[in-house]
């Protein structure tokens, strides 16, 4: 037994030395997103973004060759996420993380990445109170709930949709959005005529649409998570005749996300949403991004927000590693470099807040229209430099 132990120790030493020897010229990046289950498409878009980024900018920023460790978080599943983060950080020796996605997963990762000093890019969790509070190593390239939930309140009142009904999914980000939207609506002088929280697993909306009809609002604000709840709610709102009766349908951009807006079909037409990115964004950088992305990864799934969040995380990683060229990776220097960065992204200009690492970005008000026969989120107004509070 003792012989066996010592043999293992010796082997362990060799392995340890082995990884140490080439630590200087490689950097391991853990990518933790959903490659199966409800966020399967986010996983595909993440890989698509990485592929295009490496094709354009190579795979050795600052002379360090990037080695990716991909893991499937399988959805909002904090136990799985925690185990994967632990594995990727301690055994895989990942020095930077992209993901995990979803708020509960991100929270589960916080203590581990803080202790191991692993800069972590939050690309799929929008709840406020995570970035800068749960770990100093978090940076967000996604969005914060207030950024998307507040601006539409003022916009609605300006356009005389003063009586608004609020429909949110019954989970933490939904409650968050409810809070921010109703406060902003009151401030803008609008009236909240009613609100309803809808269970996450809900195939039947008719009771809710009937309630909304009864209160005769000018506008309906919807906050739903990505996927089936968004599709189901918009289709139900359309089928119930709410939209036809002149109620303005609004919401955060999740409800008309490009990855499934086609499945909603014409029921999505005319929906007003706030968004951080639309493939229709009018800039030379974005046009080239969309063209190259589709040429490399195909047209399906359509480019959604996961792609752009990962893209901007990679921009920060590459720039941060370039800045440390020639020396070994220092996570604290890296964080100091990332904080306060401003750059142009295909979505428009973005800034990482100097204080807490959350994102400051333009928020666009968009209308879902048909462009060349395809449903698109067309930007109609932009609200520059929306903060995350």
């Amino acid at each position: 037994m003792r012989a066996l132990m010592s043999a293992l120790t010796v082997i362990g030493l060799f392995l340890g030395l082995g990884t140490h020897a080439d630590a200087e010229d490689t950097i391991k990046i853990g990518v933790l997103v959903g490659y199966s289950g409800i966020s399967l498409l986010s996983g595909q878009l993440t890989d698509g973004a990485i592929k295009l980024f490496q094709k354009r900018y190579g795979d050795a920023p600052g002379g360090k060759k990037i080695e990716l460790i991909r893991r499937d978080t399988t959805g909002p599943n904090p136990e799985v996420a925690k185990r994967l983060v632990q594995e990727v950080v301690t055994r895989g020796k990942a020095q930077i993380l992209i993901g995990p996605d979803f708020t509960p997963n991100t929270l589960a990762a916080a203590p581990i990445v803080t202790e191991a000093k692993v800069p972590t890019f939050v690309i799929g969790a929008a709840t406020s109170g995570i970035i800068g509070e749960k770990s100093p190593y978090f940076t967000r390239t996604f969005f914060a709930i207030p950024q998307l939930c507040k601006p539409l309140a003022g916009y609605a009142v300006q356009h005389n949709w003063k009586r608004v009904y609020l429909m949110v999914a019954d989970f933490a980000p939904g409650h968050d959005c409810e809070k921010y939207f109703s406060a902003a609506l009151a401030e803008a002088g609008g009236t909240l005529v009613g609100n309803v929280r809808i269970p996450l697993s809900n195939p039947e909306f008719s009771a809710y649409t009937q309630r909304i009809k009864d209160s005769k609002p000018d506008g309906l604000f919807i906050f739903m998570p990505l996927g089936e709840p968004s599709i189901g709610s918009l289709r139900a709102v359309n089928d119930s005749g709410l939209k036809a009766s002149g109620v303005k349908i609004m919401g955060t951009g999740d409800i008309t996300d490009e990855t499934y807006v086609d499945a909603i079909g014409d029921a999505a037409l005319g929906t007003i949403t706030t968004g951080i990115y639309s493939t229709q964004h009018d800039s030379a950088m974005n046009k080239e991004f969309v063209k190259d992305f589709e040429a490399l990864n195909g047209k399906s799934p359509r480019i959604g927000w996961s792609a752009i969040s990962v893209w901007d995380a990679l921009r920060l990683i590459y720039d941060g590693l370039d800045a440390q060229a020639g020396s070994s990776f220092d996570p604290d220097k890296f964080m100091a470099f990332v904080h306060g960065r401003s750059f142009e992204s295909p979505r428009g200009p973005i800034t990482i807040d100097k204080g807490n690492g959350d994102i400051i970005q333009n928020v666009y008000i968009r209308r879902t229209d048909k462009v060349d026969g395809v449903l698109q989120n067309v930007e109609i107004t932009s609200m520059p430099n929306e903060g995350f509070r």
Partner: protein, 287 residues
């Protein structure tokens, strides 16, 4: 009053949807005593078949429904002959594990062939939008669901449950050796019943696509509803499944309308209450 009746109608329509979704499972589980969770996968497949034939071949929606029934019936027959028939005698847990495995495989297979995106699909114009009926504004697709669900229930009760074939199927399950000794071809009876159950699931997928969407996660998202309806209704009865579907549908919609803060909670309360009161379901046969 108007809103009460509208809510009642919407509840009935939702109940019909639940019935249509779970009747295939009720057939295989009730008549054959085989716990087939893969019914939910057959429904998903039915949805994909419907989309494929309407979009690729331009076949009208109504005609795509029998096609989904037949196509999925054949697929389920093949799977039954190759895999499931070897597990008829085994215990429930084995069947559950086997068929949930098939569900996961179906998700991966569908993702491989059709991708992970939600399928684009819309019903013909005469089935979408609203219709004034006796002063009520009803959704046309819901009226359609109520009609189809009612017709399906009648057809199944009188064409399957209360026929000679229904009796034969139950005889084969209850005592296969005696049934065989009486000259019944149990293998054939099981195969036919299973194919009908699978076909019904396929039809359900095609019919529900408009309200529930079609994507690879379909089976896991709705499996629990199937199980609830079948167990509340009572394993082995089609009329029980219908009653359970309608009861749960109306209760769900009514509570969501009158007390939305209770939300999706009520369907589970009813399920637990019924299970405590009648463990074999509302119309369940005694053991």
């Amino acid at each position: 009053m108007i809103s009460f009746l509208t809510v009642l109608f919407n509840g009935i329509a939702y109940g019909m949807l639940l019935f249509i979704m779970s009747v295939g499972l009720s057939v295989t589980m009730g008549m054959m005593n085989f716990v087939n969770l893969a019914q939910a996968s057959f429904s998903m497949l039915g949805g994909y078949v419907m989309v494929a034939v309407t979009q690729t071949f331009g076949i009208p929606f109504l005609l795509s429904l029998p096609i989904a029934f037949v196509a999925v019936g054949i697929v389920s027959l093949v799977i039954e002959r190759l895999v499931f028939r070897h597990f008829y005698g085994t215990d429930d847990l084995t069947q559950v594990l086997l068929t949930i495995g098939v569900v996961f495989m179906s998700i991966a297979i569908v993702t491989y062939f059709w991708g992970g995106t939600y399928r684009q699909f819309s019903v013909p114009p005469w089935l979408s939008g609203q219709q004034e009926v006796l002063g009520f504004t009803l959704e046309r697709y819901r009226v359609f669901l109520v009609v189809v669900g009612g017709a399906l229930a009648i057809a199944l009760v009188f064409g399957l449950e209360r026929t000679r074939f229904g009796a034969i199927a139950r005889a084969c399950v209850d005592n296969g050796r005696v049934a065989r000794a009486c000259g019944l071809n149990t293998d054939l009876v099981f195969a036919i019943t299973f194919a009908i159950g699978g076909g019904l699931a396929g039809l359900a997928g095609a019919l529900s696509a408009n309200l529930l969407g079609i994507d690879p996660n379909f089976p896991l998202r709705y499996l629990v509803y199937l199980l609830i309806v079948v167990s509340v209704g009572g394993i082995g009865t089609i009329s029980g499944t219908l009653i359970a579907g309608l009861m749960l549908g109306v209760a769900d919609v009514a509570v969501k309308y009158y007390a939305p803060q209770l939300g999706g909670f009520v369907i589970y309360v009813i399920t637990v209450a019924v299970m405590l009161w009648r463990p074999r379901g509302l119309m369940g046969r005694s053991a």
